[in-house]
């Protein structure tokens, strides 16, 4: 039996250079009514964006538990994008306001413990903003590529 010596191998380690084959994985959690619809519109209008994002649909950005962000960063993601309706446009009246407050705290905390603020990004994309969604994804992807892979200990343990 191997002792688990999974020191937290760098949350952000600039000295670790990404291997050439590395491609970032970005988890996108989108609200069903605005941002998911917006991302559909991006597709319908054939606006191209980097293929690194994996989209998860939730009913409302307020459904997003900060847990998801932490889990994503710990398991599969190099970056997380959360997107909901514009403030005031929430399908569920006030959900995105709660979400916004919660994300501010989450972001603050992640920044405190040493994550680069570009790892987790939030945006407001409406159902009509297909082009904006593509821009947002592009920006997030570029930011994460600049930061390099997120070597959170967990992945080390699971690598084959």
């Amino acid at each position: 039996m191997e002792e688990v010596k999974d020191k937290i191998v760098s949350i952000e380690k600039p000295e670790l250079i990404a291997p050439p084959e590395w491609k970032p994985v970005i988890v996108g959690i989108l609200c069903n009514w605005c941002s998911y619809a917006g991302s559909d519109l991006t597709g319908t209008s054939r606006t191209q964006y980097p293929p690194n994002i994996r989209i998860i649909r939730v009913p409302c950005s307020s459904r997003v538990d900060p847990w998801f962000i932490i889990k994503a960063l710990q398991t599969t993601a190099d970056g997380v994008l959360i997107s909901g309706c514009h403030p005031g446009d929430c399908h569920y009246i006030s959900g995105n306001y709660y979400a916004r407050r919660r994300f501010l705290v989450t972001k603050e905390l992640l920044k405190m413990v040493g994550f680069h603020e570009h790892r987790v990004q939030f945006s407001w994309v409406s159902a009509a903003e297909g082009a904006k969604f593509a821009q947002v994804v592009k920006k997030v992807t570029e930011d994460v590529v600049k930061l390099g892979p997120l070597h959170l200990y967990k992945k080390e343990n699971f690598s084959k």
Binding site: M1, E2, V4, T76, N157, K160
Partner: protein
Amino acid sequence: MSFSTFVTDKDGLQKLYEAIISKHETYAPVEKFGKYDYKKVSSLKECDPDSPIAMTMSVKPLFFPRASKIMKYEATSAGTSIHETGQDQLSGPRVILGVKHCDARGLQVLEAVNKWDYIDSDFLNRRANTVIFSKRCDKADTQCFCTSLDYDLENLDALDVAVVSGPGGKVYLQARTEKGENFLKENLGKESAAGSQQALDEMKKQYEAFAASFRLKMDYKDVNEKMSKRFDSTAYEEATRNCVSCNTCAFICPTCHCFKISDEKIKDTGVRYKSYDSCNNVYFTLEAGGHNPRPAKYRRWRQRSMHKFVYYKERFGVNLCVGCGHCAISCPVNISIFEVVNHVAAAPMEV
């Protein structure tokens, strides 16, 4: 069989330590946030083998890690394949400096359960390949009661080399096992050999002074006997009412060995872990159907106390508690298992 005793002074000991560290894979207490934990060291400067007992964590994780991988597996439609885990980094030959006597006794006690129905070869290997340097304390801490238990602390053979301070800055190194004997011979010059009666006398004197410094003393046999008859005593409830069930006692105990198994899976790959559990946890041995055998705090305390002082003794002939007092020191509300068992023993018999 008797082993040799060597004499040196403080500088000599430092030099010996340095030599060991440079030659062998060495672990020693390293301070972090005011608490000492055993870590691999590369120089004497980073560690303190004389760390205060109250501030030092148990050495147990070097033999029974807080978490270890049992196996890795991959589950696909082709079936489930099991992969070996990585090399056990704790199984190689190594030396541990600054172990406390009680702590070392803990390892010895644990050997019994690890050799029992399932033979935990990892634990045994790690022990077999380790040379333990243990300094006998000069003074007991407020919560220590190691001398009151069922083992001979003076001549403890759970450790390989005992370091005992003598008068005038003398330091005696006494081998207690063959492994220790060989190790000392390899690493010490002949000039320091000293098997004289004077040395033994001075060591005896040091022990007596040490034994006299204890605040906590008890009659082990009496307590053990009385406890086994007071299973239903309400004294448990009284003594542990202010416990906050925080688990700390079990996690820092040198002899607690309950563990839980957990799986963590990402994509197709999973890892099975073995990690510490604590009987003070509400969910300890919670059954899948929802039944909790020990929902009340005092029942978990009873389990803990009985296991430490009665059950283990019954099954393996040794007392599980080694009297190190770590639990009482770390307890946020200073509950001492010493007080609990004595309180129970002193309680009237249930009719």
